[in-house]
């Protein structure tokens, strides 16, 4: 059904929101566990850290950042409409605005995070 229905911006916005929400979950699990390790078993933690610092880790981190940024911006879009329902009229524009902000903030961040891969 989800695939058969040709939803427009609103449906895409929701699908991404949901996917990103679940994705962040996965990361949150790892993240709390590894931080826990930093206290419980510092040397194990430092090994895990190597993974984060590796190229694959950095790409993953970028994706996490993207998911978080999208989810945060779109979450705000939803909240704005919830409290001021007139904004539903501009939900498309808000979504495109989200993408603009996403690019403006996200690209430099991605650059900073990914730079070390190329620097090596």
């Amino acid at each position: 059904m989800l695939i058969r229905y040709r939803g427009q911006e609103g449906m895409l916005a929701w699908a991404f929101h949901r996917i990103s929400g679940v994705a962040i979950w996965v990361f949150v699990i790892f993240h709390i566990v590894d931080i826990f390790l930093s206290g419980a078993n510092p040397s194990a933690y430092d090994t895990v850290l190597q993974i984060y610092a590796s190229p694959i880790g950095r790409i993953g981190e970028t994706l996490l950042g993207a998911a978080l940024l999208y989810h945060a911006l779109n979450g705000l879009r939803i909240i704005v409409m919830d409290f001021w329902p007139v904004f539903t009229r501009y939900h498309r524009q808000l979504w495109y605005l989200n993408w603009a902000l996403f690019m403006i903030v996200g690209l430099p961040v991605a650059f900073v995070i990914l730079k070390p891969i190329f620097a090596v």
């Binding site: 962040i24 699990i29 709390i32 826990f36 930093s38 984060y52 610092a53 945060a72 961040v109």
Partner: protein, 130 residues
Amino acid sequence: MTQRYSQSGSPRPTRRGAERTVWYLMRLTGLALFVLSLSHFLILHVLYDPKDQTAAFIANVRWSSLFWRANDWLFVIVVLVHAILGIRIVVGDYLKGAVRMAVMMAFYLLGLVLFAFGTIVIVTLPKPTG
């Protein structure tokens, strides 16, 4: 085939539930997370590079002040509340009945464990050494 004539009267929904509170909490925690999570991400993934964030770094720099410990503890709580309530919506949409119950129980448990882990590490991580 269903009885194809309208029942008269107005059946009132019976499943009360705390959905109103959930809805509100999602928005409140969302707003809080906007600040907490983005600042967290910016500081720890952009201003500092992950490779520098050794266990010692965390103990010495990041959690050197009570403020940051409190901040991150709050962050853990808010994230978990938002994430648990969020996943409850998602799970509820795709799973039904006993499976749904089981999966949600697992998530609640996971949430508790994560809360415990987070709290333990924040509280017990030794004071900066040296």
